[in-house]
Symmetry: D2
Subunit: 133 residues, 4 copies
């Protein structure tokens, strides 16, 4: 938690969570699928269609948070990710993001590349035990 991410309630402002989700998603793609940059190199952009975040307990300045991310679905030109934000084993928040892959120039939907499909299918994604993503 950065100090800049706190608000006047003394907690992490809720709009930071989608940013943290993205940081975890990018790291997951990096580790398992050659990185988000590989997508962009192939002329594909991944766009965000929807974000859901659920806040369970507040996060505070200097908290060390672990953001778990896993690809929860891929079909056609769509994929989704699920997230769990943990602090010392306690669930702080969770969420889901929905994405589409589009041609970087025409912005038309284009199928999720098979290498990405295979990579994220094979990936386990770290996930907190005891939660049902």
């Amino acid at each position: 938690m950065r100090f800049a991410e706190t608000d006047a309630q003394g907690i992490a402002h809720h709009a930071n969570y989608p940013i943290w989700f993205e940081v975890a998603r990018v790291a997951h793609l990096e580790r398992h699928a050659g990185g988000y940059q590989r997508l962009r190199d192939e002329g594909i952009e991944a766009i965000v269609l929807e974000v859901h975040a659920r806040y369970i307990v507040p996060a505070r300045f200097d908290d060390v948070l672990v953001i778990h991310a896993r690809c929860s679905d891929v079909r056609g030109a769509r994929f989704s990710y699920a997230y769990a934000v943990e602090r010392d084993g306690e669930l702080v928040a969770d969420g889901t993001t929905y994405h589409a892959t589009v041609d970087a120039v025409s912005l038309r939907p284009t199928r999720v590349p098979s290498w990405l499909l295979e990579a994220v299918a094979a990936a386990e994604g770290s996930w907190p035990s005891g939660s049902s993503p």
Copy 2:
């Protein structure tokens, strides 16, 4: 749209929308219910339980966006708001936020004050015609 709100895809980064929702919610409370500060003055904090955002078309630098907000539900210690982001009459995004009112010291749930209840019930909230919030 601020330039600082753009990202390397040349569009408004999706994490800005929850911030814009909040700006509209605060303005709505200001206009209809004496402001968010009045809540805080009574020792009540409104916390965010959930945020949903759905992105329909990208927003770009220098776009003039209108954020419509209306209180969509109040019961007990919970209330929710619905949002529609428009540019020149086109729906750019929509969303919902879920909130709870809590005692500022104990952080225990406390009923939404009746003055707030009445104020938001009476308020119409600007809402784009043709959409069904």
Copy 3:
């Protein structure tokens, strides 16, 4: 002041001021010189070389701040802006930003276009009385 711009000290986080400076600079260019987009349309990008901000009194949630901006110098491929952030006539912060105009493709320095030079020279820029920018 947006609530998202506060921090756990209950005041506007200091990293917001460069964003507000930019909002005022873009509005100043819009009003006096056809807008920042006109620069981009000519294949010119304005880049930021330096930012200085001086914080005098804290800004708080719901404060209405006026950001004064004026172009303080233009020569060759460089220009600078001065800013004053006011609340009810009180100086909250001031600052300066230094910029260069570069070719959008080669990123090499290119002279500030004469139309921009003339426009900002002619512009007065709102400025708080009693301060010496």
Copy 4:
């Protein structure tokens, strides 16, 4: 570099650097002086008086940046930090921040505690070789 920190020029937006400076400053205090929280526990707040940032080359998405921080001066109720942002040994940006320690309740200046003074004086702070901070 987070994707959310990029802007429509495809580079890190300049307003992120003061945030990165703060992250490095907080980490430096953590390592050498028991942390920023120890200050707050003693009823002292450190406020930001001034920020200077100088941008040398742009940072891009997925860049791994190292932020060097060292306390450059302490006297009375004032202290300052110097920063150097590096990517693969190349200087991307540098900067300075000026701070005051104040009583958390009265907000009056209060001397920098001696334990902090001694800690930061003893600390070397990582610093890129070949640069003259």
